[in-house]
Amino acid sequence: MTISLLTFYLFSAVILLSSLMVISAKNPVHSVLFLILSFLNAAGIFVILHAEFLAMILIIVYVGAVAVLFLFVVMMLDIKSSISKENILQYMPIGLLVGLVFIAELVIVLINTKLDLTSIQILSNPMSNFVGQSNTEAIGSVLYTNYILYFQLSGIILLVAMIGSIVLTLREREGVKRQIISEQLDRRGKIDLVDVKSGEGIDV
């Protein structure tokens, strides 16, 4: 029983419990908060696996950005009406199906390793070629040398998705007043410096 094993059990227990709370909590905001808790503990498990770069990226991207948007949307909901007293078992068949598929996949992976614990070790720790490199360097060198094409391709897909969502939500509305900062700050042709003689005044 080493300390890393102990922390692993701690993190995975919290993940399991909070995932259970995600689907059983009555209040959707509580669900999202429990989801964030399970993300955080998943990051903890990455740290135990010596994948600290992935752990930090998980927190920055999922917890710091994606889950904030989740929480934003869920917080705007009218919670009292969304807490329904309907039968929560109505989604049971779909949930069971998804769960079964997931368990089947896990079993297939385990059968492939023929339950040999040493090869599981290799499966979860395939970085042996990068001894002496920090895992930021290792990921960087693999991603930008061997997989540069896929990296660029996923960038282009994201760009297309971004442009698509902007195009879908962009509406041209009539009569909207917009602030144009450059026009506001521009003084050329809008102010005159005039020498006014004393006692005469000037027509503007």
Partner: protein, 337 residues
């Protein structure tokens, strides 16, 4: 199990000791920072500031703190009480947790991890949850609007802070905070990366909800923003969390741009001072700038705040990433090339 406990007792105790070694100076720092903030603000406005309690009014902040501790904790009737009380705890805990990786001197750091800068970035991106939870659980309109504003603002400015950090990291070639400081041995990064220094400083103001970007707690519009319903101890936790975050941002500016614990010039009388003295001096200088900005810059309008973040700082910092990487590449200056 008992064996395990025996093996790690010493480690556990030493970690607790180091945590106290971080926490107690930090509390002292917050007290002094609050005092300095009020004194500088007062001096700019030709007032005297706190000067009654203790010598020079130094005990004003502890007195305020004591007052808050003895006040009643009011739980609003319609609030979500668990989330309401957890929110300030999260804010304070996260702001202290980030200090675990901050090096105050060569080798003097609790956790010298090799993704230190990412860790700080991750922890500070979690800080938004304390505010969101506080705003939502109060079940009241002003706190909710304050929380939404704050979350949108922090997420927006985090993007440009991220790119500024990337430009610095490209000049260093490591994510370790100690190595970032050591890379500035010849020249502090605020000289070659001066525009990024400015962008980082302003984004740090926005990230910590300091004036002129204190829209989340704009008194004239939102009472006290997400803190409106808080009283007593939870309010103190928010206050402390906020100021520890401000000090963290000052320390980050120091480490990324002002050479951390390094003396300005490596000559005799200057390099005899221990490193943490230089570190503290630089953090104090950056905090002085924070306080001065609070004193003489009027509050931004919210749409202009968003425009500054997304339309000015984001393109600027993206351009800086491309420029810096090009210069490093074509002049063969990149570390490890």
């Amino acid at each position: 199990m008992f064996n395990l406990f025996q093996t790690y007792t010493f480690d556990l105790l030493s970690i607790v000791f180091y945590c106290l070694l971080i926490f107690i100076p930090l509390l002292l720092g917050v007290v002094l920072a609050l005092y300095a903030d009020r004194k500088i603000w007062a001096a700019v406005q030709k007032r005297k500031g706190p000067n009654v309690v203790g010598p020079f009014g130094l005990l004003q902040v502890p007195a305020d703190g004591l007052k808050f501790i003895f006040k009643e904790i009011i739980l609003p009737d319609g609030s979500d009480k668990t989330v309401f009380l957890v929110a300030p705890i999260i804010t304070l805990a996260l702001s202290i947790a980030a200090w675990a990786v901050v090096p105050v001197q060569a080798g003097v750091v609790l956790a010298n991890i090799n993704v230190g800068i990412l860790y700080i970035f991750a922890i500070s991106s979690l800080g938004v949850y304390g505010i969101l939870m506080a705003g939502w659980s109060s079940n009241s309109k002003y706190p909710f609007f304050g929380a939404l504003r704050s979350a949108a603002q922090m997420v927006s400015y985090e993007v440009s802070i991220g790119f500024v950090i990337v430009t610095v990291l490209m000049c260093v070639g490591s994510l370790n905070l100690t190595e970032i400081v050591m890379a500035q041995k010849n020249i502090w990064f605020f000289i070659p990366l001066f525009p990024m220094f400015i962008v980082f400083f302003i984004s740090a103001l926005a990230e910590t909800n300091r004036p002129p970007f204190d829209l989340p707690e704009a008194e004239s519009e939102l009472v006290a923003g997400y803190q409106t319903e808080y009283s007593g101890m939870p309010f103190v936790l928010f206050m402390f969390g906020e100021y520890i975050n401000i000090l963290l941002m000052c320390a980050m500016t120091t480490i990324l741009f002002l050479g951390g614990w390094l003396p300005p010039v490596d000559i005799f009388p200057l390099n005899e001072l221990p490193g943490f003295v230089w570190f503290l001096l630089k953090v104090t200088l950056v905090f002085y700038m924070f306080a001065m900005v609070k004193a003489f810059v009027p509050r931004y309008r919210y749409d202009q705040l968003m425009r500054l973040g997304w339309k000015v700082f984001l393109p600027l910092s993206l351009l800086a990433v491309i420029m810096t990487s090009s210069v490093l590449f074509f002049f063969n200056l990149a570390p490890g090339m």
